[in-house]
């Protein structure tokens, strides 16, 4: 299940797949990915530590993909963007109703990343949203950085529609 984002937002699609418990994340459009990542480094004021940030960002993408994999059946869309000068992991669930366990799991992930010494340059916020159409997501996304996870070749569907 996926949510189609507004046409004016140009996301970079991140394919992830698991191989012997190792997660691989590959941007479908490497050039656009590099542009958005470099822009994020500027916005996040990480130019001084750019090389380390690139490494940590790559590790972050893997960590988040691993989490997405573990919650795949509950997620309509998983997006990395920016909010308030921080990287933000926005997860759109495939149900409208509040899910206590899902929020607990996301809070744990958030805390683990915040306290991971290998991710000391990463300041991440997380947000779990109920299922909504892509237009409703606009106020939660910064179009300068929009990376969307797709596992196993899944593609977006029209706004608000669920894939059976």
């Amino acid at each position: 299940m996926a949510v189609a984002l507004p046409e004016t937002i140009k996301p970079v699609e991140l394919d992830w797949h698991a191989e012997n418990d190792v997660i691989h994340v590959i941007p479908r459009n490497q050039k656009r990915f590099e542009i958005q990542k470099d822009r994020a480094i500027e916005i996040l004021q990480r130019a001084k530590d750019a090389e380390r940030f690139h490494q940590q960002f790559s590790l972050l993408l893997d960590r988040l993909a691993e989490w997405v994999r573990g919650h795949e059946s509950e997620i309509a869309q998983a997006i990395i963007t920016l909010q308030d000068g921080r990287l933000t992991f926005v997860v759109v669930r495939n149900k409208a109703l509040y899910d206590e366990q899902f929020q607990d799991d996301l809070a744990d992930l958030d805390c683990d990343i915040a306290n991971d010494p290998d991710l000391d340059l990463i300041k991440l916020k997380t947000l779990a949203l109920p299922i909504v159409g892509g237009e409703a997501l606009r106020s939660f996304l910064d179009e300068r950085l929009v990376l969307v996870y797709y596992g196993n070749g899944r593609r977006p569907h029209p706004a608000g529609e669920s894939q059976p």
Binding site: D84, L97, E100, A107, C111, A114, P130, G133, A136, A159
Partner: protein, 164 residues
């Protein structure tokens, strides 16, 4: 800069409004928002007692993700997420979510308050000064919520206040 006592007073004021909103029943979105702002003041009271002040919501969240506050972060994150959905998510398109009540209805908000706001209150008691604890527990308005803090419960049991 606001003191521990200032934050406790504001927390109790928010609590009073929260009880009114829950009794009215027509504004679960605002009830959860007020519950979140009560949590903000309770947390800030604890931080003030530790001589810490958060300059922003983001700074507070980062502080709460530190290992010593982890339990607090988990409860706080539920209120933070629900209040963000209440304040910023609007969807008139297709899909299951049309208004905040599709995410959490009044009963859901009551449960969230009983468990998660109570969790934040309980979690901060360890950090508050004796005066702060007294203010949070004994001056906390009663009624409407099943859970009382320990000192408040003692008062309720002696019949000086009515706690339902």
């Amino acid at each position: 800069m606001a003191t521990e006592g200032d934050h406790i007073r504001l927390a109790n004021r928010n609590h009073e409004l929260l009880l009114k909103l829950l009794a009215d029943g027509g504004f679960p979105d605002w009830a959860v928002t007020v519950a979140f702002y009560k949590a903000v003041h309770v947390v800030e009271a604890a931080f003030a007692s530790l001589k810490v002040h958060s300059a922003s919501h983001t700074a507070r969240e980062e502080m709460l993700k530190r290992p010593r506050f982890k339990g607090l972060w988990k409860d706080y994150s539920h209120l933070l997420t629900a209040s963000r959905i209440a304040r910023y998510l609007s969807s008139s398109g297709a899909g299951e979510f049309h208004s905040f009540s599709d995410y959490l209805d009044l009963e859901g908000v009551k449960k969230l308050v009983r468990k998660r706001l109570y969790g934040v209150e309980q979690g901060t008691l360890a950090f508050l000064t004796t005066g702060g604890k007294g203010g949070l527990e004994e001056d906390r308005p009663c009624g409407g919520l099943a859970v009382c803090l320990p000192a408040q419960l003692r008062k309720c049991q002696t019949g000086s206040r009515e706690c339902r």
